[in-house]
Amino acid sequence: MALTDKDIKKLSHLAKINIDSKDEKIVLSKLEGIIKLIDTMQQVDTNNIEPMSHALDITQPLREDVVTEENQKNDFLKLGPESNEDYFIVPRVVE
């Protein structure tokens, strides 16, 4: 499947990665190379094959609903690029 400039813009939007318009061509050509590589899968007949999402067929373990870690709110807030004593701060989204 050939990619178009429109696809690159859509992927940039979905992945939330800005792609400078001068780089679009090179990004496109490298992605096409990779998609050509993965397209070789299409020749394989996979009818009636169960998809394998995980290396070991295990189920999600459950545990008792008890607190295991102490509250580290302040440590984590400190890591944020901008925060006050209760929240991470981002540009205003609701006027």
Binding site: I17, L31, Q60, P91
Partner: protein
């Protein structure tokens, strides 16, 4: 001290030949001398390491000592270590100081090992040459113009150059075995689920697995003994009785069978590497091991399948880097949307962005069935091939890499050529199987490795066979200083 095994270091410490502080100072000094030309470490913190060494010396003096107490270990910069800068070799995490320890770091700390520093790697473990690091490429100690492999290139180069006795690493598609092979070392990727991924920065969660890079199978056995432990905080960590890998090293292997997949020993295999692998087969035959041709008919599909599944999982895992809760945030933006777009444009390198875009593509509406679901189905076929193969043999022998180390810059413009580096390693990640790379010889003065792949949780057999080979060969004892 430079070329001593972990067991010898342990003996030296318990016999009071040297203290942990002296040992740690020795390796910190090696780093000071060699790191400027090799670039294997991103972060070294003498004060922290020496404090740990003093604590270890106290433990040793009180006879509260186990195999790794007082021994400095280099830690791949993918493992969160409390108070240490933990970057995953990305600008995105250049300002990130981990607020907690990963399970792997916690285990080394409990054993009284010394964190010698955080090693360089491909950014977010995406690469096979260590050239995608934000902190610059790592150089191969055997020839500084060549790559050390990746993504655990810093860990491999640190051990190969004698800056560290052993190192931790991670392997999503070959990132332990390929650099081990290219640097003349032994590197073990355990069964998926044996080592906890808690606090290990995620790339492709269904494939990522941590393991050791060291100078021998014996050292790897000792490292794995420490690293393998059940952890409730990793929902994919398996409850498994960890055997004494060291005790098992000397078990006789005569009469056992190694399988040779015909798909790996075809005309595509580099003829010089084939000759070296034939010598490995010869060595094993001399100690009574049988060989049998087996088939892994879907192995040629491993790379396309991997480059759907790994980017898909990465695109999801790396969505957390948005400039809100930690890590890099762009300086200028007009609104929240632009903050995300610019933060991720500026914070990620080209290869990481490429994989996020590929992952986004294969998961996007209209393509999910054709790519992601298709890849998961072929993943099942690949895993079934191994299941059938292990009905016929105890282990599988394979090349580690299609070539020896290549020159820095040789493959950076062609991502697909770079991806081919992992053609012999990736299928075991997809199946979740354990595999090791061990040194087997040299081509043009650059190391060549071979791979042994085992059944699920059969690390003991892999280490046993590798150790037996290393008892009758000395490739693993060669060092760049003495042998180049």
């Amino acid at each position: 001290m430079k070329n001593l095994s972990l067991r010898e270091l342990n003996l030296g410490l318990s016999n009071k030949k040297f203290s942990s502080e002296e040992l740690t100072k020795f390796f910190l000094n090696e780093i000071k001398t060699s790191n400027p030309k090799i670039n294997a470490f991103i972060t070294v913190d003498e004060e922290k390491s020496l404090q740990q060494a003093k604590d270890a010396d106290k433990r040793i003096s009180q006879n509260d000592m186990n195999e790794l107490t007082g021994i400095p270990i280099a830690q791949k910069d993918i493992f969160c270590a409390k108070g240490w800068k933990t970057t995953c070799a990305s600008k995105m995490l250049d300002n990130f100081y981990a607020p907690y320890d990963s399970k792997v770091i916690e285990l080394f700390n409990q054993h009284g090992a010394i964190n010698l520093g955080k090693t360089n790697m491909d950014e977010f473990a995406m690469g096979s040459s260590n050239e995608t690091s934000y902190y610059g490429e790592v150089r191969n100690p055997w020839n500084l113009d060549y790559v050390p492999g990746g993504s655990s290139g810093g860990s491999a180069a640190a051990v190969a150059s004698g800056m560290a006795p052993a190192a931790t690493a991670t392997d999503t598609g070959g990132s332990i075995r390929q650099p081990a092979s290219l640097c003349g070392l032994t590197g073990l990727k355990p069964t998926y689920g044996l080592v906890s991924r808690f606090g290990m920065i995620a790339f492709a969660s269904s494939l990522d697995q941590a393991g050791p890079i060291a100078k021998s199978a014996e050292d790897c056995a000792l490292m794995l003994k420490v690293m393998a432990a059940h952890d409730e905080r990793d929902s994919t960590s398996i409850k498994h009785n960890v055997p004494d890998y060291l005790k098992n090293l000397d078990s006789p292997i005569n009469g056992k069978t190694i399988g040779l997949p015909k798909e790996f020993f075809n005309d595509d295999l580099n003829q010089d590497i084939k000759v070296i692998l034939e010598q490995v087969i010869d060595s094993y035959q001399k100690i009574g091991v049988n060989f049998k041709e087996i088939s892994l008919p879907n192995s040629h599909l491993s790379i396309p399948v991997y480059y759907v599944i790994a980017p898909a999982e990465a695109s999801s895992n790396l969505s957390r880097y948005d400039g809100v809760k930690f890590g890099y945030r762009a300086e200028e933006f007009k609104d929240l949307e632009e903050m995300y777009l610019k933060t991720r444009e500026q914070g990620f390198g080209d290869e990481v962005k490429r994989r996020i875009l590929v992952g986004t593509y294969v998961l996007s509406a209209g393509y999910y069935d054709a790519y992601y679901l298709k890849a998961q189905k072929i993943r099942r076929l690949i895993a079934n091939d191994f299941k059938n193969a292990f009905n016929e043999c105890d282990l599988i022998l394979a090349p580690s890499c299609p070539s020896t180390a290549f020159k820095i810059g040789d493959k950076t413009e062609d991502p697909v050529a770079m991806y081919m580096q992992d053609m012999y390693t990736i299928s075991t990640n997809l199946a979740g199987l354990p595999a090791i790379s061990s040194p087997a010889g040299f081509l043009n003065k650059m190391p060549v490795g071979f791979q042994l792949i085992g059944n699920y949780f059969d690390e003991a057999t892999i280490l046993n066979f590798t150790h037996q080979y290393q008892q009758i060969t000395d490739w693993h004892q060669k060092t760049p200083e003495a042998d180049v």
